[in-house]
């Protein structure tokens, strides 16, 4: 419909929402990604409903479906598919927007190739789960062997997502060439950082899937080096969580300041934060493998040390968020110490949903420190505590932020209005999600401390007395399950309304991008020397993984043949 060619120069001062809409073709691209992500959310939530009620003894599953089959569907469709598609759609929206308003045909072609590969891979993997030929959970630990098509599907998702990365890199490069000497827009910078992190991280799981799992699942190789496959998986598995988190940070840092009519507190610190995440989120995967043999204690500890460094950018983010909020309140004339709190738009779901997410990030982060504490991990490893932890960090902090994004991005894409009614229902939905997750994940933490294992169908261990202590928490988890699933259904209902039924806007839709408080403070050039930061990351990875992986290859374990144990 509207071809936005070039953005008008940014007005100085707390600007009203920038006018502007998306190129029709970009719109189709972004909506396609969001569409798949919402479908995955629905599948995952339905699986969550039945598994949440089964493991707490409220219902029994029909013969035809297994608990672990549902759990595989839940993990794959939520942790891998919903997140990846949503993130890529969101990053596309902001990069297209801030890099001169739209993608170019070459970039769009890359993006569509990525989309087709990822969608084909998703369908393939989900079909294998449906036929019960891939009940290996979303971590697919060898030597359990799924149908080869499950792994091939996942490989397609990974390779497809690399195309998405190249789309973003290509548009960033195109912008840099057109604006020599200028500092890149913050949104685009952060998207590039996120995709660099993603590509470095996925190299590990791609190697595992392509060189180990696929040949072995076809029977071309007889045995698999299990410990190596786990190391490659977790080389990917931890930065995966930062791949989920960074887009939420982008929204907090870049979009929210505009939504609350404030300013970016700094244009440089967020860039530094993202660089620290690139550096310190990869050489840390062993903290998921503390309890296992085949890795020396020294290397485990070294990676714990690197793991903890991400506390620093997290503290910087916490500071920046509060500073941004205070700043916005003061710009609106707040006086005294705390009056600015009241000036914040609490009734605006675009702000409120992510703020609930931020609040949950405080216990989630504290729990994360416990998990990564070398010795303390022993108390919680593979208990429901861990499941509780990521239902706070991922399912609440990140996903609640995604809810907040969807509430304005979807209507902005379809040129419709986020109506007051939809907004208020969204606030209700956010509360339902937050409280439901607090109960669900809170009880998971507690029973986890009592030793209840994760990834386990309903069992009373022949009525062992230990289990009696767990029972009251199961009641809470069952009720909370219903809460959160209702919340997802409400969310999807609102999204369908905003996508197809809400009143149309006369003018172009709004895309909130914040402006820095002090535009004269230009971010140092070196922050954009990507080759330097990638090289430093490579060195850190080599230090953390070089020797232990070399040992796994030089002195390999006997290896395992494939097994189907379900």
């Amino acid at each position: 419909m509207n071809e936005t060619v070039r953005e008008p120069a940014r007005p100085d001062g707390p600007a009203p929402f920038e006018r502007g809409t998306f190129d029709r073709r970009d719109r189709a691209l972004i909506l396609a990604h969001l569409g798949v992500s919402f479908a995955a959310l629905l599948i995952g939530a339905l699986a969550g409903l039945f598994q949440g009620l089964q493991r707490t003894g409220f219902i029994q599953l029909p013969q035809a479906v297994g608990y672990y089959q549902l759990l595989t569907a839940h993990g794959v469709s939520l942790a891998l598919i919903f997140t990846t598609f949503f993130i890529i759609g969101f990053l596309y929206s902001g990069t297209a927007k801030t890099l001169d308003g739209r993608f170019r045909p070459f970039e769009r072609a890359l993006a569509w190739i990525g989309f087709v590969l990822m969608t084909a891979g998703t369908v393939m993997s989900l079909l294998m789960i449906l036929t019960n030929d891939a009940t290996v959970l979303y971590t697919f630990y060898a030597p359990m062997r799924a149908a080869p098509w499950f792994y091939i599907g996942l490989a397609l998702v990974i390779v497809g997502s690399w195309f998405s990365g190249w789309t973003i890199f290509a548009s960033y490069y195109r912008w840099k060439k057109a604006h020599p000497g200028e500092v890149s827009p913050l949104f685009a910078y952060m998207s590039v950082a996120t995709m660099i992190l993603w590509i470095i991280a996925t190299l590990g799981v791609a190697a595992e899937v392509l060189f180990q799992l696929i040949p072995w699942s076809f029977g071309w190789t007889a045995r698999i080096n299990v410990e190596l496959s786990r190391a490659l998986f977790w080389y990917f598995g931890h930065p995966l969580v930062y791949f989920w988190l960074l887009p939420a940070y982008i929204y907090w840092y870049v979009n929210i300041p505009q939504i609350i009519k404030g300013r970016l507190f700094s244009d440089s610190l967020p860039r530094l934060t993202f660089l620290l995440f690139i550096l310190y989120s990869v050489p840390v995967g062993f903290h998921h493998q503390l309890m296992e043999p085949g890795i020396g204690a020294f290397w485990k500890f070294l990676q714990i040390f690197f793991t903890m460094i991400v506390v620093v950018p997290s503290l910087m983010t916490a500071f920046a968020m509060l500073a941004t909020f205070e700043l916005s309140g003061r710009l609106k004339g707040a006086k005294g110490r705390f009056e600015w709190v009241r000036k914040l738009p609490w009734k605006d779901v675009r702000f409120f949903a992510p703020v609930l997410g931020m609040a949950m990030f405080i216990p989630a982060g504290a729990g994360g420190v416990v998990n990564a504490s070398y010795q303390m991990n022993q108390v919680v490893h593979n208990t429901l505590w861990v499941t509780g932890h990521f239902h706070m960090a991922l399912a609440t902090t990140v996903v609640s932020t995604f809810f907040g994004i969807a509430y304005w991005l979807v209507p902005a894409l379809t040129n419709r209005k986020l109506t007051r009614g939809a907004n208020n229902l969204g606030i209700l939905q956010s509360w339902l999600w937050f409280l439901g997750m607090l109960l669900l994940a809170g009880s998971m933490h507690i029973v986890g401390l009592f030793g209840e294992p994760r990834r386990t169908a309903y069992t009373t261990y022949r009525d062992h007395p230990v289990v009696e202590v767990w029972l009251p928490y199961w009641q809470v988890m069952g009720v909370a399950t219903v809460f959160v699933v209702l919340s997802v259904l409400l969310f999807l209902g609102i999204v369908v309304y905003l996508w197809a039924f809400a009143p149309r806007l006369e003018t172009a839709a709004e895309y909130p991008i914040g402006t820095p408080l002090d535009p004269a403070q230009r971010p140092p050039r070196i922050l954009e020397r990507w080759s330097l930061w990638i090289a430093v990351t490579a060195v850190l990875i080599l230090v953390a993984y070089g020797v232990p992986v070399w040992e796994m290859l030089q002195n390999p374990e006997p290896g395992s043949p494939p097994i189907r144990s379900w």
Binding site: E292, A297, V312, F319, A323, Q375, P523
Partner: protein, 158 residues
Amino acid sequence: MLNIHLPRYERIWLWIGGASLVLFLIILALLALLGDLNPPGNMRMIAPEAVRTTPPFDKPGLKQIGPNEYRATVVAQMFTFQPASMTVPAGSTVHFEVTSPDVVHGFEIPGTNVNMMVIPGHITEFTYTFRKKGDHLIVCNEYCGSGHQVMMGSITVQ
């Protein structure tokens, strides 16, 4: 090089955060080095097919190796532990060595610090002193297949 403006309060905040982090890491390192508090691990290996024919795993069980000291040789397999139950006097120190002839399993005793991953091809070791009397449940805490939720054992402390 990196001259980025950090407001004073942010600098204080980061100093406090950074310092407590360093202190925390030092405590963890001291516990590991001086207290010998390390997670389970070890570099011993064994082929999964050979588990049932190779000592000591051909005869899994509990063996007294000193006053109040035992070695528990355990095979974690789909979907049982061998031996399924053990009995030790209160105050005994038990050295566990566990392996798997098939897929990955877990070995966890709720209410204690015993929590190990059991990886086929490897032997996991951990030592624990049982002080509390009673019947301790052993559970598999890593998904291992359709019977994962029935995989259990027990260790009775008298």
